[in-house]
Symmetry: C3
Subunit: 273 residues, 3 copies
């Protein structure tokens, strides 16, 4: 079992874990994050008593900030137990797991961070502090980690296109109206709401929960691995285009001028690149 350096697992009980992401300074998703998430999914699958797992963040301004594009070339793609590349392997296993996964979002969830939340079963978010974005198109690439497959099912084609092509930030209430998340809650209530929900279902019958999820998965037609694979391949290829490097350089100069505000209002600044 590999050690975790970016995540802390807190066992609230045998049936209920909290997994907290902490990758200073801004919770960027990098190749190590992906490998650790895959390790965590393995531990979830291996636990015979686990019913529900909540993913949250140690940083109040960033849930999972975004993928570190400068390291996209190092993206792990070794086939996992499903035979699929790492990220697709871990997200589809999470989706198919008999354990219920919940993203409790405070701070920014962008790019692969939003896509990880989309692979969780449920998503709750702070009205005041959560923001969502798929900024890839503004960087000259496309979302390669599942947003293209999962957003249209939750938000419909038109809203998914607005999100993905507009590449802007969405506050939590708009994200709720668009179907991106289950619901937006006042920041002061988010933790209690999620904890109450998790403790409630942790007491329910494990068979009933896993059977319900299995049957919903069948009816809700989860994305096909081939579709996810085509998007990931398109992303990894697009990253290598010279236009992307050029846009990256321009973004960097905007970022230098904007300082810390750049990552806080990424959607805004990408409109200036």
């Amino acid at each position: 079992m590999s050690e975790l350096t970016q995540f802390t697992i807190t066992e609230q009980s045998a049936a209920y874990w909290t997994v907290t992401f902490n990758n200073p300074p801004i919770n960027l998703v990098n190749p190590e994050t992906i490998l650790e998430l895959q390790e965590i999914v393995g531990r979830i699958e291996a636990s015979s008593e686990l019913v529900v797992v909540v993913f949250d963040s140690a940083h109040p301004d960033f849930f999972f900030a975004r993928y570190d594009l400068s390291r996209a070339g190092e993206t792990p793609t070794a086939p996992g137990p499903t035979g699929l590349p790492t990220w697709i392997d871990l997200t589809t296993r999470l989706e198919q797991s008999r354990v219920v996964s919940i993203a409790s979002v405070r701070g920014r969830a962008r790019g692969a961070g939003s896509e990880f939340a989309l692979a969780c079963d449920l998503r709750f978010a702070s009205i005041e502090r959560a923001f969502f974005g798929q900024p890839e198109v503004a960087a000259g690439v496309i979302p390669g980690g599942g947003a293209i497959e999962r957003l249209p099912r939750l938000a419909g084609r038109a809203k998914a296109l607005e999100i993905i092509i507009g590449a802007d930030d969405f506050d939590a209430q708009t994200a709720e109206r668009y179907g991106w998340i289950n619901r937006a809650l006042p920041d002061a209530e988010l933790d209690d709401f999620v904890d109450h929900f998790a403790r409630r279902i942790a007491k329910f019958d494990r068979f009933a929960i896993s059977e319900a999820k299995r049957l919903v998965n069948r009816a809700a037609v989860p994305p096909q691995p081939e579709a996810l694979l085509e998007s990931q391949t398109s992303f990894l290829k697009a990253v290598q285009r010279p236009e992307v490097r050029e846009r990256g350089l321009r973004a960097r100069s905007v970022a230098v001028e904007a300082g810390a505000d750049f990552e806080l209002r990424l959607g805004h600044y990408l409109g200036q690149v």
Copy 2:
């Protein structure tokens, strides 16, 4: 033609019927309810002038309360005209009928009661008095009457999972935001709104309505009978598990202590079992 003991059919006109459910004390759905609903669907199909049918309740606190699990072993499963077991037969025939069906919900619609509403074409509900729930998972079983197939299409996978696995009550406004119902209306406006809608379409051309519904059904991919059958079979099997009997006994002791409030706030009390 069998007699109806739990339902009253009021012919507002040849084109517009109201079907009122009345099964004191709390409008439980039991095996007889299912057989009478099947009879009603037969009458709907047999009427050559009917355009729209509204289902409502004689009890202001209960629309269709929930399935009487203590009689689950008596669930009728004789194949209907479609060749499918009773409940699946009647709900898919309602969905495919050229007549438009409307659930006008005042009071609780839980379990099979929610699932009957989901098989109607349209759902309107009272903001103050309507509540929705799929409490099955809290009882150790799963929704076997169509919620698993129909909710993900209306609410998306994430909200459907929250509803089904959380097994809690939803007020009408949240049910509207989640896609469970078409819209929530102030209690004082509900009857007039539904009546106005029904009278409006009752005057329209019957061919245009049935052709529109046929074409929408084709595009909206109604659930496959095999999927509905798998869920019903899973439910009928799950009901026989010893864990379910044990949870039932614990629920009964909570119910004794709670009194009449138990059925009014079922979602709340199931969290204490």
Copy 3:
């Protein structure tokens, strides 16, 4: 290249066009409108630099009013480049185009006007001035231009049935809640919002946008041409029924009494026919 008589194309830049509909007195859609829209789609496809096109109206009370049923017999059906009849050809080409299309709706969008908006990728509308309707069923026909295929995917089966069978007008905020449009905006903000969005994406990388749209289209399962064809055929056949002529005569007498208000509140008056 045919001349345009009902539309003006304004090139805000090589990457961003505005196409304004102006067919006095009330922006009825007629056979010429369809042919000109097909010509416009051809120009959109032919432009190598175009990224985004916004469709709006010169008339503050009518976006695209509705189809002129009195000329339904002249509906052009010559196969376009896709081999499909004119309207299906142009709407599916718009949907598949690498260019992003936006309907900016002020005034009424009814019937084929709503269906054209539904074939655009994104829809934004004025809270005070935009209204949506599919009035066909009230006229004894059915929506034959894509609403039956596209509305259920955006709004779900139940809301799509309410819209299509009820044949009433929906204000922009209800249309937003129903998924008909991306979002409703205060009238004073609509133009700036749409212009800001269009200018933003016009600066993005064309490859990234078209690749994102291609991949979303794949995941969002756009309607099959055969389904669109079946609905159009059903519409063109239904128009010839004697009941439709009779309802048309009755509608005309209501219209004469109502004056200009008839087209402004079409949904209301169709309830009196």
